[in-house]
Symmetry: C2
Subunit: 206 residues, 2 copies
Amino acid sequence: MTKEPDRLPARKLKSLQTRMKLLAAGSDIFIKEGFQKATISQIIKKAETGYGTAYVHFKNKDDILIVLMDDVMNRFYDIAEFSFEPNTKVEAYGIIEKQVSAFLEMANEERKILKVVEEAIGVSEEVRKKWQTIRERFIERISRDVAFAQKNGLARRDVDCTLVARGWFYANEMYLWDIVRNDRDLLVNDVVHNLTAMYTGGLYIQ
Amino acid sequence: MTKEPDRLPARKLKSLQTRMKLLAAGSDIFIKEGFQKATISQIIKKAETGYGTAYVHFKNKDDILIVLMDDVMNRFYDIAEFSFEPNTKVEAYGIIEKQVSAFLEMANEERKILKVVEEAIGVSEEVRKKWQTIRERFIERISRDVAFAQKNGLARRDVDCTLVARGWFYANEMYLWDIVRNDRDLLVNDVVHNLTAMYTGGLYIQ
DNA sequence: AGAGTCAATGACACCATGTCATTGACAATG
DNA sequence: CATTGTCAATGACATGGTGTCATTGACTCT
């Protein structure tokens, strides 16, 4: 590679700063007001820009949140990619517990932004689609893990791996939102243990 | 009881008819347009009433849908009240399968209105609360069933009955919305079998 | 017949959105 | 340096939905 001039477009830089100010303000306003109550006017006021400026940088309110979601999204992707190659039931239990734990701990850590995201999923088609890709990524991955366990004789074969994966993820996801909301004061560890125990062993004896 | 005059308030009757026209129109418009896109103007136009009339009978758009939800809600309550007194694991499996089946079949039958409800849950605080009461009713009931099975030595005792109930209902609920949306072409019977099998027996062998 | 009640009405004030013509600072060119 | 081009920024505006309220007029009661 030859020397890239590394141009310093003074105007482009100012533009980037404006964009950042809008994102920072968006984050504050979304967290304070919630997704629906937040308005473009509030955001541009906090960012100290003109009204139209928001529309120069973003398509609309949804678009601002989608950009803000990006970090969290990537953390989810990382968790989805946990490797899974157990040789025993106990080993499987351990891996699964670790993954569930990571998933739900994130609910705690990113509670503020996820609260907004949850609301936005219900309101904005765009945000819903974005979340849907996360969900399908998890389910597809879990599906493969179940199939792996079935092939190795660890798991029963009279169930469909994609249906199992979906149901399992759904329970996890709903607990995620529960923790984000923090209505009930759930202890993450209890949830993790119960979910994992039920998933691997079922409720009934024998 | 003495003879009630059974007054026929001619004006009250007219009023009731207006209310019914609004509800019928509301149902049509909600189903055709979805909850967010539907407007009061569309509804009153279809009902052939004045704009303000809608606000005489209902607090707002949410309120109209909540009244429309009522039938479906009652059917949900009925399903939640299924009796549960199994003596064996096989018997328990049968009862649970029947309840899940009734729950998910309703998704098919009431698909149109439930599609609107799902959207409205995301948008309207009021509707969300209404659905929340359904959910808690199910969870509370399932909780008792789990405790019953634990007391009778049918179910393992190292799990918390309310956490189990919640996770179990969450998986069911998400499949309900899946079926309502009808994205994937799911066979209800397959879903029922997989859910019930996993719940009662777990994924792993032994 | 007259007074009272109440369902119905639509004009109105309010508010948020997204667009667009205009501005002015900076960049590129000769 | 002067001239022309580009592009981020701006806010006034058109649009469209909401909920309110003063007014109307049909019905009820005495």
